[in-house]
Amino acid sequence: MEQTIENTIRQYLLNEFLPGEDPNELKDDTPLITGGILDSIATLKIVSFLESAFDIQLSAHEADADYLDSVATIAGLVRQKQAEG
């Protein structure tokens, strides 16, 4: 599978928070925080994963459901940070 930003994020989410899940169930728009998959501690883990995997810096206000609620919004945030780079 192509190693897009979306796939890297998906793979991390599946390994870390959804062990055993059918990968096809995790869609780009699956709600992660509002869907009960990620709690506040999980979002802290994701922020540190994104910062190291993509070499970006996230601001504190970006660690919430507005930015981290789906694979698509997370990937959008990563792209925006990389462009600001």
Partner: protein
């Protein structure tokens, strides 16, 4: 300067503070940059009272509030109290079905709700075949410089004028608020707390912590959580400033630490879990907390490792471990010594009994010998009246001794040390505390059983370095393993997010005891039942590209 609050009602304190220091800041909301002084807060709460009275709310009526933490929410609370009514705060982030259950259970007459949440709530109430059809006062999302509550009142005013009403001076036994906590039978239960309950606790806070009008109190706990009683009402009755920390800021340690420092707080009160996160991720060393003089925590055990780290970074305030269920609010307290020895690993005691209450330790209804383990029971002015509409559950948690003293059973097992302080040992039932939230495992199970494909479900709590986590064992009707995503989503529609299990383990029939009950001991033991396949972090070996 210390102001002396009115002894037996919540509204007297605010009125007094508004008379003494009308121009002083009552509430600040760093999230929106808004603030309000005592004069304006007193006037705004009068307007809320007038509108509620005009809508038919009277003494003893219940009024719900489903609002994010805001100046508006505090104004609504005091408006409700001024009308002589009982405030019922619900979790604005919880599913509408759960909130509708609560508001219907205590038959609220009116609900103040944000516009976005009004339709889901109305629909959820309609789906319940509700006993009550409350009037909804809706707050718009943003209204320029006006507070949303002011905008809502202005809009109602143009259609239908609400004449000035008089504030009701309550009897001490009138209810002030009902706080709903997780219930073992599958639905939340309402803890009924009177003005006497509230003010006896607040007077104890005054004596113990000596607040003044120069203090700046953090409001970190959500308003449906009993920790908020200390923050909101102690601050306002002393003419101090209440600084609001909403959900978004409240959970994020780096952002929280920075806002905390900028807010020049003097009082902090929260569950230990956020303090642990602040100690680990808050970068506390780079901020100035020199104004902070009290750090209070309650709701669960504070792991010594993190408490030591926190005290190392912010050494000068006094630290207190407060203990007590919603039914009594704080009933014991313990001051943490200035230095925590390096070799200490045991948590600190929950401490001595607060002066407005009495405690005893019993086995059944018989007091145990000094130093023996038993159930902690509490009596006195701080103890709740009852659970709303649940006579049997109320009866079960009280007993009366031969001196005619009515004791509330906390369900917590404790023993008393040589210095006369209680130490917490555990629970005697299936209630757990996760990040300060009180959770009945039975309520989670009841939700799982409502899933049409679930044949059997059992939920247990376990703990690791990061704290308490919840595991659900599930036997699906087809014996299979459904999507975890779908299951998480199902749970998030039924339960507040903090109650959604952290791990799901799907398998065949659950293990049973000889009497054919689910064998929780086997589930919580190291050996999983043989028929189970686990889906946990330790054992996934799962690759995306397979």
């Amino acid at each position: 300067m210390t102001t002396t609050p009115s002894p037996c009602s919540l509204i007297g304190g605010l009125t007094g503070a508004a008379t003494i220091g009308p121009g002083r800041v009552a509430i600040e909301d760093p999230g929106t940059g808004r603030w309000i002084n005592y004069r304006d807060l007193a006037a705004l709460t009068d307007r809320v009272r007038d509108r509620l009275v005009h809508a038919g709310v009277g003494r003893g009526d219940r009024v719900g509030l489903c609002l994010t933490k805001s100046i508006d929410a505090v104004a609504v609370i005091y408006g409700i109290l001024k009308a002589g009514a009982v405030y019922v705060p619900v979790d604005d982030t919880a599913p509408a079905t759960r909130n509708a259950y609560i508001l219907n259970d205590c038959t609220v007459r009116t609900v103040v709700v944000e516009q976005d949440a009004a339709i889901p709530l109305r629909n959820a109430l309609a789906a319940l075949d509700a006993k009550t059809n409350p009037c909804l006062i809706q707050l718009p999302a943003t209204e320029g410089n006006r507070l949303p509550i002011t905008a809502a009142l202005d809009a109602l005013e143009t259609k239908d004028y609400a004449p000035a009403a008089t504030s009701v001076e309550p009897d001490p036994d009138d209810l002030a608020y009902i706080l709903y906590t997780s219930g073992s039978t599958g639905q939340p239960k309402g803890v009924m707390l009177s003005h006497r309950n509230a003010t006896s606790f607040l007077n104890w806070c005054t004596d113990t912590f000596q607040p003044t009008r120069d203090d700046r109190f953090a409001s970190h706990a959500p308003f449906h959580f009993d920790l908020s009683i200390l923050d909101i009402h102690t601050s306002l009755r002393h003419g101090a400033t209440l600084v609001l920390f909403g959900q978004n800021v409240g959970k994020d340690p780096a952002r929280l630490a920075s806002v905390m420092a900028k807010s020049r707080l003097t009082f902090w009160y929260s569950a230990p879990s956020i303090l642990s996160l602040l100690a680990q991720y808050g970068n506390l060393g780079s901020h100035d907390f020199s104004t902070l003089r009290m750090v209070l925590f309650a709701g669960e055990v504070f792991p010594i490792k993190h408490l030591r780290a926190l005290k190392g970074m912010i050494p000068h305030p006094r630290y207190f471990n407060l203990y007590g269920p919603t039914e009594t609010n704080v009933c014991t307290f313990h001051e943490i010594p200035a230095t925590i020895p390096d070799d200490r690993t045991d948590p600190y005691p929950i401490g001595r009994t607060c002066s407005h209450l009495s405690t005893c330790v019993v086995e059944g209804t018989t007091p145990v010998d000094a130093g023996e383990e038993g159930e902690l029971c509490v009596a006195g002015n701080g103890v709740m009246q009852a659970y709303w509409n649940l006579d049997k559950q109320t009866e079960r948690v009280f007993f009366t001794d031969d001196q005619d003293v009515r004791w509330y059973r906390t369900g917590d097992i404790v023993y008393e040390d040589h210095a006369g302080a209680y130490l917490f040992r555990g629970r005697h039932d299936r209630m757990v505390k996760k990040r300060g939230y009180r959770i009945e495992l039975g309520e989670i199970e009841a939700s799982l059983y409502r899933h049409p494909e679930v044949r059997e479900a059992a939920v247990i709590a376990d703990a690791n370095d990061a704290g308490v986590y919840i595991k659900a064992f599930i036997h699906m009707a087809d014996g299979g393993k459904p999507s975890l995503i779908a299951f998480n989503r199902y749970c998030s529609e039924q339960l507040p997010l903090y109650m959604v299990p952290d791990k799901f383990i799907f398998g065949g029939a659950l293990p049973k005891t000889a009497t054919d009950k689910i064998d929780y001991q086997q589930l919580s033991g190291t050996g999983l039942p043989k028929s189970q396949h686990r889906t946990t972090n330790q054992h996934h070996g799962f690759q995306l590209d397979q």
